[in-house]
Subunit: 256 residues, 8 copies
């Protein structure tokens, strides 16, 4: 629960040895900025390697600005997902250090401020209608410092499109597969690569697609080992997982 | 409704011109053998090109024997699906002109009595556990006079197995794709061939497979044109449709 | 995967014998027009007998025009489904060789430019509210060169309407049955004809219809052999399958 | 709540005028036989025209005997549904005035003790596997004094079987349609008759049948007016409703 | 299939004896008015006791007017359900013999032109939000000539409201129970009356109501005998069934 | 059913002893104000400790005013839930003794008129998007006279936020946990406190949340004893239950 | 997290002031008995007022004995649910201080060792088949020291059975309503009492009951305030909640 | 598709330069051992870093032995999941280099033959009933060469059990969280660690658990970033993914 102290034991020890007052110890358990309507989790970047991401949907412009203000004050990277163009434009006018990615519906710290890894994640999607979710994944990974290679419109029903790119996909370290009608795509990719595949079902489709539930279950059901599944339309989750893996690889390779 | 007469009009005309008595006309509408517990549809072979198929599940040995007796009396081909080995063995002992296909759970007229077409249907399945459904499709097609080519264990997660056989599959005129965990297979096949693909989901699997419902919906949801879907575990339906198409091709090619 | 060459073997042989350069061989695997936002599958007409069909929903006017441009450049037949009247009108103003079918929500190559088969498919629907899906099926078949006979408003609850037309339906080679509230219709038709029946459930209805899922499952569940099922509202799929069968019949009858 | 007294008002009046003591009035609200493990509703035959029916499933032999004893003591007709052969045989050995209907899984007062109506209900079923539910409906109606006409194995996929009997079905006053795989049957029947149709879905089937849920929803969804639906496998409910209607017709026709 | 002739046999006999020409016989099977976009079933009033009811949703004003014209021409009673106020007002301006029931969303023949039965149906509903469905049931019954007694806002959670009216409900011959959140109501009513209860679930509610599916299943699941269930929001179906029963009672009571 | 009289027996006794006339006794069963479109249950405050709560959704301004009028006339506390700002503003302009809680979508008797308990209920919620449901719970409890302590934005994925407040939560006597995406929260809370936990799932979320059904089932499924579950978005129910418990505690503690 | 210490603060303070060693503080966080295959939560009786309850299903006899041994060693009350008769009999032979409740499938500390409250909970169930779940609730409450009053077989379809007991039910402080086919029962009870109602759906039933899911959703959906819902067949949960409320009432009434 | 050759291009080049014969090139596409009933994918260990894993359920002893024989012949590691004790015992008697893990239902190469990584994966499970799935995950990871640290019985409803171990869990590089009734556990863990969390729902539970579907959806729905989800009961998938990540870390850390 504590970051400063490596374990509960060391925190308790610190109190005992008077290195830490009781009120400071208690403060350690209150590591967020209380904005009244929300509590910004400021220790998350220490605890989990990346600051709290803001889910923009349903938040007012005023609330978003307060949150951004608090994050920038603590010099955190900003990542707001599911934000519409209207709110986005107001925000980037106010904060020139942020930029708006329209297809991805994301406002974030300008990507050219961010140092990128050499290792790459592949973002693969089946149809042009899955683009917003794929881009949410891609920009999320980029804002977290990961190089991204996009493979869009490479569906299963014309499988040669996928094969034309398979070597490039294999050269990446993680794949995020985004698909609505073609749940099969994650199975096919996972059968052809030897790295982790994150499958992101989308709600794009009609009829038996059941707003993405069929694709979700079908991806979960796939028997290609090395695949795991995110929530419907959760491009952010796909990008976040991919970034976490690649950051770990970078970190561990430097460790030795 | 009538087969002898091409249309209701011609039947009515026949009554008027005294070529057909009223009681005979009425009989035309009663074209089945009343066994008390069931009515055997004896005109189906005329009406739909193949005699009534018997769904064996839940029927007693005694009932099955009465039905077979009625069918053989009218020189019809026999096809009983979903029959267990115990009942099957009693029946083939009694009727040496029939044989039992254990994996397919089928009792039928001996296949070597049946003339086969030159045109072929492919029966493709993803895993060894889908074999019973695939064999139900295969034997159904064979008893209907169709040559069958089996492609078993060619799943999507090791897609090169499928590609090794793709030319042979393309040489067939119809494909029946049977799959439980790998609903993706029908999409992939349909994207690689230019003939009709019948997708048969199976209930084999676990968890998110939901007894085949996920696979069914996922196959229905596929965007590869040329695919259509049968009920879960309905191997018979797959074989029947394939046979109907190939019989039509044979028939029309002889017509010209 | 290759069309020019009948099999992988022949392609490999061609490289070996210097008939095909390595880069050409590789090109064979890249048979699409890269538009940036999409990849047009130009070899599909060779591989599957008909060029890539464009699903119009969610595509911008600008994207649609680029795709049409690419297809016309390669002298392909154009078929865009699920397109609204506004986009449709802009397009047909720009491309006079195309026309707009309002009920079907389709823009396609003018039908009077297309040679039609003598063999026919029946398009049968139960209620006036199912018309858009039925017309999507009908126009799809027509743009693929098939003669279509429409039987609309012939539902099960007034079954004599259907019987009045049954001889005409039997004279066709395939039936596409489109129904929302009356899933029963495909069972009844399949029991009366001896050709393939494609059942297309629609989302029209209310309450227990569950946006077409009940009708879908009920059609899948039907025990009339010779039926197979498409996705909810997938009129295109029904028309495409019907066209594929009839084109095969035409092709095979000419072959002998 | 009271039967003796036509209304609450008359009961209250009876207390006031000393025709009814307070304790008797209270007793009127306790019209059941308390067996400890169950309360037999002895006034139901007065309140609803037929005594309480016993759902046999899960009840012990000992409990069933106590219930029968209580019912016979009050000279009520006995009807126990969902009872297996073992318990049934013990009971009919003990009570010779009862008989066991094996297919229907019913133990009841001997049917030849019961006077039957002239008006009839039709019990229609699609397949031999639906027989137990159809018989539960038929015997329920008979034990309630209704004449029953059975039309079994008249499914939709061979619709001429149904038409051969349609005049006889029309001659009945109610139809109970029992079907598992052929939910369509109730729609077709309701479109051909002018009396109430009770649709009883059964759990017989496989795959997309979803243990009868598909058939239930599909029957509910039917647009043929005059149909209403019972629970899956609820043959009893179908028979009970049919009997209630016919008893009302008999009663009202005698009233005038 | 024929109404003029009591059975197929009598029709066939009529042809034979020259009382009926072949073309007239054929015409008997085509008993509808072909409007191009729809076929009006003009013999339904003979076949099923009431003319075809028009489901207004999704039909254009122009189409509705053509249908009304055809019905009035044949002197049929008009009943159009699910019609919005705008279309309704245009229609009643044009046809003064029709009237608009706003809560019920119905346009129909003026009710004061219609002779009503003495026997009554009860229409019972739990909450004010279920009123439109309850009124659809009530007006449907009234236009079919049935006297209706309304019991609105008598839910289960304040059950004394229901009890205050129970004697009046018992005096009716059928009950239609309309409920969205209170599926329990049909059970409670069915346990207190001795006539048929038609349960109409509504989609009114939120959360676990699942747009009426929970209420539908819960009503189907009820163990009160004498209940049967209609589709969600199908007030028309409830009124139609009630009317059919009461018309039968009237008819049979006059017969004797 | 009666409140004045402690039991049916005492009411019957009262009639007998002429303390109560028959018509008055009958009136006791009719304890509501008949407004035509609705029946206001005026005895509920006696029967259940709080007057009838009005569900505002779908009710017209005119109807709401009539209901408020009737409630105020009988000096009842007013609580209207699910009311939009437009109707709310009209009402509070007209009735200055009422006030509008915008986030909670509630119009009620001014809270500062209401005496509050010392014992408190905790209202806990996971995300800012769950606020409207949490506030519906909070204001409901307050209008029922309960002191409320709010713990908002204390989700599971940053569990230290919850722990920072756990002692304050334990000091309350009931917890209402409101959560959409974090169904886990009710389990975690219930494992840390020794008082009743009411779990209110919300429909806030996307994809696999299935409009709150996943959260509902997941909360029901939780194995932390002491939890029970309300309908999706039913903040009112959570507040009502909490208030009922605390009122019982107050009442019983005063009793001894 | 700690029980000895009222809050984290007091525990931290205790370390600081040397009243508590670091290792003891850490031990406070490890309050369970590690049995290898399981961890018995020994502080739960302090933390939540009752020791850890053992879910017997799937646990071996050997494991159960180890757990009982650990509990008895710490003088805790024993409550094992979902245990079959075979394992139960071995255990009560070994531990004479325990007893077996066969209908409830419970082994627990002998009830006559346990002091009972004066306040009572009502356990209400609709059908004899719901008895095992009702008894699980009843015995759970009793072993937790609560007096229980059972009202069995008081279903909605014969609602006078319920009314005959309503005064006794009202005299209790909590009601637990257990019902499978009659989800309505909890609504009806909640509308008649002014105390908390815990609704426990059971999986008993068939067809549209969907193994209790329909009843669960229907109970959740009920609009009678004061109801909250437990998992399907979770009699334990019902009894536990009831006991918690009554223990709170006892405790608070003694406090003042 | 080829492993020997880094890309299709290099394979084609090899043919051209006569380094590879056409038949050898074709053989490269046929990299499996054809056993008749199955095709063993022998190149998977090259293609994906681990040989084909055998799903034991439904395979006969004879088939399993043939597969093991083929794998051992090629010196592959053996891993057979979902195998019962009977078949397992026959196999380990025959192949002493294999061993049987009873709780995990796994037969595999003896673990002490396998070199383990220093980096560890945590396998965390909530209840003793989830042990088989947790062990399937653990043994899978171990047979793939990964060190495993087990944290069993650390559920959410007694969350201090989890906190007592949190530092040890954080010291691992991946967590696999296995839970049936406590879907919350994966959220809580993911909120406390900064490495990937694989959530494996199990089908253990009852009622609203819906055979694991509720837990699956609830885990997918969780908003803790860094979580991804496997199929219900897919312990193998959890172990495989964890192993893949840790192998990548080992591999990359050695690379630099």
């Amino acid at each position: 629960m504590t970051d400063h102290y490596d374990s509960i034991e060391s925190l308790l020890q610190a109190i005992k040895t008077n290195q830490l007052s009781v009120s400071d110890a208690k403060a350690e358990l209150n590591q967020y900025d209380e904005l009244g309507f929300a509590k910004i989790d400021l220790h998350r970047s220490k605890r989990q390697g990346f600051p709290e991401v803001i889910f923009g949907e349903g938040k007012t412009e005023k609330h978003l600005i307060k949150i951004i203000h608090s994050l920038l004050l603590h010099e955190e990277t900003v990542l707001i997902t599911r934000i519409n163009s209207e709110k986005a434009n107001t925000i980037i006018t106010k904060y020139p250090q942020l930029e708006y990615h329209a297809t991805a519906n994301i406002v974030c710290t300008r990507l050219n401020y961010i140092h990128k890894t050499e290792r790459q994640t592949a973002i693969i999607c089946a149809g042009t209608s899955d683009l917003p979710v794929a881009e949410e994944a891609a920009v999320t990974a980029e804002v977290m410092g990961i190089s991204v290679k996009r493979f869009y419109d490479v569906g299963v029903s014309g499988i040669h499109r996928l094969f034309a790119h398979i070597e490039d996909i294999r050269a990446c370290n993680v794949s995020v597969v985004v698909a609505g009608m073609e749940g099969a795509l994650s199975s096919v990719v996972a059968g052809l690569v030897d790295h982790p595949v994150y499958a992101v079902p989308t709600s794009i489709g009609y009829g038996a697609n059941l707003d993405g539930v069929t694709t979700l279950l079908s991806m979960v059901n796939s028997c290609a080992p090395g695949t795991s599944v995110l929530n419907i339309d959760n491009g952010f989750g796909g990008g976040y997982n991919a970034a976490m893996i690649i950051n770990m690889l970078e970190h561990h390779s430097k460790m030795e």
